[in-house]
Every structure is written in C-alpha cells, then in structure tokens.
C-alpha cells in the first residue's frame, strides 16, 4: 500500500478541519491586527490633539515637533530601539511581546484544539475503526495523521503572521513598525515551535483520554499545575541561590508565557517536548483498541504515571501559592493539612484505579487460561 493512498484518505476526512483552522487563524490575525492598528490610530489622534494647543477657545497651531515626540513614545508598535526592554533581551524586545504579536494565544489554543480534534473526532466518530481495519500499519497511520495535522498547523501559523505583518506594514507608516526581518523570522519560528509543541502534547493527551471534553479539562488542569510546578521549583532554586537553574526551569515550565526571555532555551525545551510527545503517542496509538472509545483511559498502564504526575503537580501548586513568610502558624497548619489531604486523596484514587486494573487483568488472565485449557 502506498503512503499517498493513506494520505489521501486522511485528507478526505480532515480537510475541512484544516480549512477551518486556517480560516480561524486568519480571523484571529485580522482581529488582533485590527486592534493593533486601531491602537495606532488612537495614539495618532491623541498625539495630534495634544500637539494642537487650545488658546482662548480657538484651536492653536499644530506643533509638529511635539506630535513626533508623542508619536515616538506612544504609537510605536514594533521597535528594536528598546532592545534590552524590561525583560532584558536583545532578540525580541519587550514591547513586541506586549503587543501580543509574539505569542498568539489564539494560535496556541487553535494548535491544542487541532491536536485534540483530530484524535477525538476520529475515535469518537468511529473513523479510527475504519483506519484500524484498513491495510495500513498503525504507526504509519499515526505518523501520517500527525504529520498532516502538523503541516496544516504550520500553514495556519504562517498565514497568521503573513497577514499580521502584511497588514501592519501596509496600514501603519513604516517608522512605527520598526522591526527587522530577522526579528520577524524569530517570531515566526518561535510560534511554529510553540504551536507544534502544544499540538503534540494535546494529541498525546487525547490519545489517552479519548473524550475531547475530558482531554481539555485535564489539559487545562495539567497546564495550570505545570505552571505552578515551575513556580515552586523556581522558588526552591532561588532559595538555594542558584539563579541559572532557576531561570532555565522557569522557561522549561512554561516557556510560552515569556518568549522574550531565554529565547533559545525556550525553543529547545519546546522542541524536545514536541518530539517526546510525538514519539510517545505512536506506541499508544499502535496499542489502542476500539473497545476503549469512551472517556476512560485508552491506555490503562498510563494511569499510574498520571497519578504520580498529578500528585506532584498538585502538591507543588499548593506550595507555590502559599506565602510562608507572611502567614501565621494556624494558616501554615491548615495549608499542611490540605496538602496532606491532597496527597492522600491522589493515593486513594490511585489505589482504587489499581483495583480496577487488577480486576481486569485477573479477568483477562482467567480467560486466557480457559482458552489454553
């Protein structure tokens, strides 16, 4: 069987999802660009009125120098002048970040949604059954679908930035969009990688949980907990006066939040994350059975690692949000009780889950023994 036949089959199934993805990406680019351009016009309007003095109830003369000064301070959308910025980077200035163009949260949401949609829609829509029964190896199906989705995502991200930068350069005077080609490339590459990493992570989650709602909820909880975990570890490293590791882990935890800082470190962490999730997904897909199409774990052995991860992240979440220095003994005691309760709760959940796994395993073993007999 040729690869392109599988590709055509997947394309037939998913092309509307890809089209919708690109349309949404362009729509969100249009929205954010319109807002940015609107901000520019508002700044220009403000600068114009500030540069025009009012005197004795009559409009004064327009002060061009003053106008330029205000515009320079307020209306610059992208600039490399303030290279250090408040975040201290030379690669992407702070005010580029704050404009919202560096990390498009909309694109990140779309990337995660795409990862979940492709897997869950195929599974719950029973297309996966057709794929399993087809004469293609499961790993090939997985990689082909993953690759096609990734390609669509890269197209959507590229379209997003083409529209964003294209609209800015055509609708705002060049001196106020002061960014180098290298800067734009950096932004583009950064987002391609960030979107791909989130797409891979979301696909991996969807392979385990199947149900898109459960996957989304678990994904959001996991993301928040990961953020907290990063914060907690950062506190520890800061406490032991190890700023380098502290910074590195800050980025490893949630690189998406602060792209201006540690650009390369963030890129590297996200690439590693994407690769790990992508390669981890292949054996899960290959071992999946259509019997597990509900909201339960499609891959029961994943339960324990997930329980451990959730327990660690949950504990660190509580740790991160507790300020020991300003609270009294009572608050401290309550905090510890909550923390212990949380850990015990996770363990109980784990034990119960283990019970069900064990029962299923015993039932299967008995069935096998019966078959042998």
């Amino acid at each position: 069987m040729h690869k392109d036949e599988l590709g055509k089959m997947l394309w037939l199934r998913h092309r509307w999802v890809y089209a919708l993805l690109v349309v949404l990406a362009l729509g969100s680019a249009l929205y954010s660009t319109t807002t940015t351009i609107d901000n520019y016009h508002q700044s220009a309007s403000y600068a114009r009125s500030a540069a025009t003095k009012h005197k004795n109830g009559k409009r004064g003369a327009f002060n061009d120098q003053k106008y330029r000064k205000i515009m320079k301070e307020q209306a610059v959308i992208f600039t490399t002048e303030n290279a250090e910025g408040t975040s201290g980077t030379k690669a992407i200035p702070y005010n580029v970040q704050s404009s919202g163009a560096v990390t498009s949260y909309m694109m990140l949401i779309l990337a995660a949604t795409l990862g979940i949609a492709l897997v869950s829609w195929d599974r719950l829509g029973k297309f996966e059954r057709f794929l399993y029964a087809s004469p293609f190896a499961r790993r090939r199906i997985y990689w082909q679908r993953f690759g096609q989705g990734l390609g669509a995502l890269l197209c959507a991200t590229t379209a997003f930035y083409l529209l964003t930068f294209g609209a800015l350069f055509t609708m705002v005077p060049a001196q106020y969009v002061n960014i180098t080609v290298f800067g734009m490339l950096q932004i583009w590459v950064y987002n391609l990688v960030a979107d791909s990493a989130l797409y891979a992570a979301a696909s991996w989650l969807a392979l385990i949980f199947s149900n898109p709602l459960v996957t989304s909820v678990i994904g959001i909880i996991g993301f928040v907990l990961l953020d907290a975990f990063q914060g907690a570890v950062q506190i520890i490293f800061a406490a032991i006066k190890h700023p380098t590791w502290s910074r590195a882990i800050e980025f490893g935890g949630i690189a998406l939040r602060s792209p201006g800082r540690y650009w390369l470190t963030g890129l590297l962490v996200m690439i590693i994350g994407a690769v790990v999730f992508a390669f981890w997904g292949a054996p899960i897909f290959a071992r999946s059975s259509s019997e597990n199409t509900s909201h339960i774990l499609a891959f029961p052995p994943m339960k324990w690692p997930l329980i451990v991860i959730m327990a660690v992240l949950g504990s660190s979440y509580a740790f991160d949000y507790y300020d020991f220095r300003t609270s009294g003994i009572l608050v401290g005691a309550i905090f510890r009780m909550v923390l212990v309760g949380l850990i015990i709760g996770f363990c109980m959940w784990g034990l119960l889950s283990f019970g069900s796994i064990r029962r299923r395993w015993i039932s299967r073993r008995n069935a096998k023994l019966k078959l042998k007999a």
Partner: protein, 269 residues
C-alpha cells in the same frame, strides 16, 4: 460460512478482532499463514463493514466509495456505482438519510466492490423486510458464484443462513464449539419426535441425542450422528410414537444452546 451464537457469545467481537479493530489478548489472525498484524497489507483481502459503527453518517454514498478506494486497491468504483443505480440509490444522498434496509445494502455494496476475497457480514438481515433480505441473499449468492468470494456471515436469522451457508460455526463463551458442514450433517443428523412409555426416557436419547423441546410426553430430539446403531437402540426402547421431522439450522441452534432439565423431561414423560 455462517457464524452462529447467542447474544453476547462474541460474534461481533470476533469480527472486530479479525480486522484488528480490537487487539487480541492472545493468538494471531492469519491469511495464507501470514500474520495480518505483521503484514497489514494483507488486511486488504478481508473486509468488514458495520455501518452503524463506522463514520459513514454524514458522507454521501459516492464519497464513501472514495474512502474505500484508497484502502482497497482492488476497489471497483464502477461496480459500486452500478449497484447504486440498480437499486435506485442516489449517490449524492448521505448515508445517514437512508433507511436501515438501504444502509445495510450500501454496506454490502461497498464490501462487494472492495474486491476483498473474504467478506465478513455481521447480522446483515437484522431488522430488514423480506424484500431487502431476499436482495441481500441474491447478491451474496451471485458474488460467490461469479467471484469465488468467501463470506463469513454472523446472523440470528437462521432460516436465511440455512439457505446461504454450507458450513456453520457455533460460537459459545468466546470459543468455536462446533464446525458443521451442513450437507454432511443433513446426511448424518435427524430430528425425531418421540413418545416413550410413562416415566422412561431411554439412555440412548440422552447420550446420543439432544432434546430441543418437550410438549407433554412428546419429545423433540436431534441426533447429530444418527448411525444404524443409534437407530436400533432407539427402536429397542420401543417408543409409542417415532416420527422423523425436517431438520434445519434452528434445530441445530436449539440443540446446541437449549438443554431442558432432566427432571423436567422425566416429569413430562
């Protein structure tokens, strides 16, 4: 070939395992002694279409063919279109718009057009009217005659299967318990209606036969291997009434799955 079993015996599970939708706990699925998991391209030789459990709903009938065309290299799109035309089905209609009977027909059209030499059909007659059932039977028979396609049909409709299958597998508790070749069986097996003197059910009836029904003192018994020795033993028991009835697949099904309690039989006898 028919696949017969009670509800929950595992007929659909067996099909889904054969086509690798389910992962087997043990064992392998082979075509010509080759593992279909190791060589997935072999799965193109086997088609199983369960329309209710696939993605078909929102796709048009012609679009469904596009999917199967990619998966099955031997797919005959012209034949599929001909079948649609023959049964006056508009290719632009979606699968979900069709009645249950036509959906079943479309699944069979896809299976036949796939060109796969092994076709698995799961309850193809379930809930269909007599005309559609007849059409399906006609299609299956002509396919076997013209293309040497092998069918494995799981069905509760034993009357229909009786006219279609020359071999029947009985599935019980996840295991194939019997493999009957119907022609041979018809030569060897008999169904007798017997009445014995009060309080007696001879041992030969219980050892060589299976009681499938009791009505008062009248026993209906299936003897799977009615040899002259068995016939002699039955006659020796001096039944008050002995009458041979026509044997069909339903009787075999009952013989396999219905076992009236001995006490009940004895009480009635």
């Amino acid at each position: 070939m028919g696949l017969v079993g009670r509800n929950g015996a595992g007929k659909t599970t067996l099909f889904q395992t054969l086509v690798h939708q389910y992962i087997a706990d043990g064992g392998v699925v082979q075509i010509d002694d080759q593992d279909t998991v190791q060589r997935p391209e072999l799965r193109a030789q086997m088609v199983f279409i369960d329309g209710q459990n696939l993605f078909f709903g929102h796709y048009t009938l012609l679009r469904l063919a596009d999917f199967y065309q990619q998966a099955y290299p031997q797919f005959n799109a012209a034949r599929y279109a001909d079948l649609l035309r023959e049964y006056k089905l508009n290719g632009q209609r979606t699968f979900g718009e069709l009645s249950k009977g036509y959906r079943a027909l479309v699944c069979i059209f896809l299976a036949l057009a796939s060109g796969a030499p092994y076709v698995l059909l799961d309850e193809p007659f379930d809930g269909l009217d007599a005309i559609v059932r007849e059409q399906i039977v006609k299609l299956v028979i002509s396919e076997v005659a013209e293309h040497q396609t092998a069918f494995l049909i799981a069905s509760h409709n034993l009357e229909e299967l009786d006219g279609l299958a020359d071999r029947v597998l009985f599935l019980k508790g996840g295991t194939i318990t019997h493999d009957y070749k119907l022609e041979e069986l018809r030569q060897q097996a008999v169904k007798l209606q017997l009445v014995f003197p009060v309080g007696q059910v001879p041992d030969i009836v219980q050892s060589a036969g299976k009681i499938i029904a009791t009505q008062g003192r009248v026993l209906t018994v299936v003897f799977a291997n009615y040899t002259p020795e068995v016939a002699a033993a039955v006659s020796a028991a001096q039944p008050v009434l002995q009458e041979e009835l026509a044997l069909d697949l339903v009787d075999l099904f009952k013989a396999e799955y219905i076992h009236p309690k001995n006490e009940e039989v004895l009480k009635n006898a």
